[in-house]
């Protein structure tokens, strides 16, 4: 059995959750310690994965079909890195953001720790029922975080989000039931090996995919995301858009490429790809007409999620790596953007674009963070987004599906459209900028650092992509 580094990302946040629930004071220090611990564990895990290949860890000492296994391959390691670093940034931001509201902070920390551990549970689990429990853990903690401050539209959005999330999880559970009925095992590897096309497996695939599409807000089923992500408190909307959405997407990736490879038909992949393309266009169109900044950024999430689903239609190693890399760079950029938007809204009262005019003089750091994050979302060179766009484009060209090329390129332009519309408002000089209250200490800096990391991902993409190829389902991209 390998080292215990694989277990720390799950256990540490859970420990912190109980401690922060138990003790009233010291929640921030505990969370920061957890963050540091998780980063260390994840880095160690990634290095192990890099040189020893995929690691598996049996919990309770029981081997695969009977017991539950944790499995860490390149994809899991990259996702863990994402959740560790973005999570740490959110922790620091939240520490500053909630310093003024003890009643809310009281419940924020346990909920956030639960959400964080649920993400790591999902990234590491290799058992389909265990994934369901992780999914539920994430769903409930996400909604609880959303309704934390108890505003009117946060509550209604939360209610809708909870119902949607439960429906999605139950669909997934039904899929698990059908799979268990057919194969009698719950381990992902075993099912993957024994998979054969049959009505039960097709239905299971359909249910699971639909469930996860609903939780990841793929185009027709995205209705719940904008109100939820825009009305949440800013650190929560950052973690929702950056991490929670990626959890269910990761689950879908795991199922399509490890559990259902034989049962999946190209036509199904095309369906998801087309929905993804439609998401890019639809999300961008709506982002172009929004009056509120956070709603604009929320619709931008709907659009960017579209990019993730294109890899299902392309099915080449480049496309797969491109999609995952997009998820990674989007996490950093979107977290930074929501933080910046949140700081501005918090400082100026409301986030209507007109009231935000001229905020670049008073809050240059936030506006710069918004801009730099925008560069990654537009996929301009030297940014993580560009590398992802480059991989998706070369894959689309390689497989001759040029319509995806146009959509990906056009998406970048549309993103430029709505982001620059927002930036124009932030940059137009206005004589007086009425500041309600000063932003908390570390908040602006965190957003800027995250945005810079998103840019850095463009330059340092080679090692991360190499890590990603370890155990890549469609074979390694590097010859």
């Amino acid at each position: 059995m390998t080292g215990s580094a694989i277990v720390v990302p799950i256990m540490l946040p859970l420990l912190a959750a109980t401690l922060t629930f138990f003790f009233r004071r010291g929640a921030i220090t505990m969370s920061l310690l957890t963050a540091a611990g998780t980063i260390a564990a994840v880095v160690v895990l990634s290095l192990e994965v890099m040189d020893q290949g995929p690691l598996s860890y049996t919990i309770g000492g029981w081997d695969a079909p009977l017991g539950i296994e944790l499995y860490a391959d390149g994809l899991a390691a990259v996702m863990l890195l994402m959740s560790a670093f973005v999570g740490t940034a959110i922790t620091v931001y939240a520490a500053g953001y909630f310093s003024g509201k003890p009643a809310v902070a009281r419940h924020f920390w346990p909920l956030w720790m639960f959400a964080w551990s649920s993400l790591n549970v999902i990234f590491l689990s290799a058992d389909i029922f265990n994934l369901y429990v992780g999914l539920e853990l994430m769903g409930i903690s996400a909604v609880a975080l959303l309704t934390l401050e108890g505003e009117r539209d946060a509550l209604t959005a939360g209610m809708r989000y909870l119902l949607v999330s439960l429906l999605g999880s139950l669909a997934y559970l039904l899929g698990v039931a059908l799979l268990y009925g057919t194969f009698g095992v719950l381990a992902v590897q075993e099912i993957g090996e024994q998979m054969f096309p049959s009505p039960a497996t097709w239905t299971a695939l359909a249910l699971v995919t639909a469930g996860m599409a609903l939780k990841t807000a793929l185009f027709p089923l995205h209705f719940w995301l904008p109100p939820a992500h825009s009305s949440a408190p800013s650190p929560v909307s950052a973690l929702l858009s950056a991490l929670v959405v990626k959890g269910s997407f990761y689950l879908l990736l795991r199922l399509w490429f490890d559990v259902f490879p034989e049962a999946v038909t190209p036509a199904a992949g095309q369906l998801l790809g087309i929905l993804g393309a439609a998401a890019i266009v639809w999300g961008s169109i709506l982002a172009l007409v929004q009056r509120r900044l956070k709603l604009l950024v929320a619709y931008s999430t709907v659009a960017q999620i579209g990019y993730l689903f294109i890899l299902f239609a392309l099915l080449t190693p480049e496309a797969w790596s491109g999609g995952v890399y997009h998820a990674l760079s989007h996490a950093f950029a979107k977290a930074a953007m929501f933080m910046a938007a949140g700081t501005l809204m918090h400082a100026l009262g409301n986030d209507d674009l007109d009231t935000l005019d001229g905020s670049s003089e008073r809050f240059p750091l936030s506006v710069y963070a918004f801009g730099l994050a925008g560069i990654t979302l537009m996929g301009l060179p030297f940014s993580g987004g560009f590398t992802a766009k480059w991989l998706l484009l070369s894959a689309a060209l390689e497989t001759g599906q040029w319509w995806y090329v146009t959509v990906v390129l056009f998406g970048g332009l549309l993103a430029a459209g709505y982001l620059l519309r927002a930036l124009a408002h932030l940059l137009t000089p206005t004589p007086t900028v009425k500041v309600q209250h000063e932003p908390a200490r570390g908040t602006e800096a965190t957003a800027l650092i995250l945005a810079c990391v998103a840019l850095l991902l463009g330059l340092v993409s080679a090692p991360i992509l190499e890590l990603l190829q370890v155990g890549a389902p469609l074979g390694s991209m590097i010859p």
Binding site: G150, L155, L174
Partner: protein, 107 residues
């Protein structure tokens, strides 16, 4: 068509009915109820699979899964009801904003 598949079919029918209920009744409590019952339907399907295994005692793993599922369902429903109550406290209506229904239809 052994009797066990009959249970599985009935479970599936429960799920389908709950989906219909979730779709067509706008009242929040009805929706939460639909979701809870759909969970039970799925657990029924799970248990019917445990009986299909040859041998005298049933396969224990689905039982454990159902137990865990029930606890999760309880938690989810509890939180949903509390949230619905909070929504009612704040918005004085037990419907989602997009589906404001006149009270008379609430039956």
């Amino acid at each position: 068509m052994t009797s066990v598949t009959l249970y599985a079919l009935s479970g599936m029918v429960v799920v389908a009915v709950c989906v219909y209920g979730l779709v067509s009744y706008p009242h929040l409590i009805r929706k939460i109820l639909a979701i809870n019952v759909m969970g039970s339907g799925i657990f029924l399907v799970f248990l019917s699979f445990s009986r299909r295994v040859p041998g005298e005692n049933p396969d224990p793993v689905p039982h454990a899964m159902v137990l865990t599922g029930i606890v999760v369902a309880v938690c989810a429903t509890a939180f949903a009801l509390a949230l619905a109550r909070r929504v009612h406290e704040v918005t004085r209506s037990s419907y989602l904003p997009e589906e404001q229904d006149p009270p008379e239809e609430a039956g």
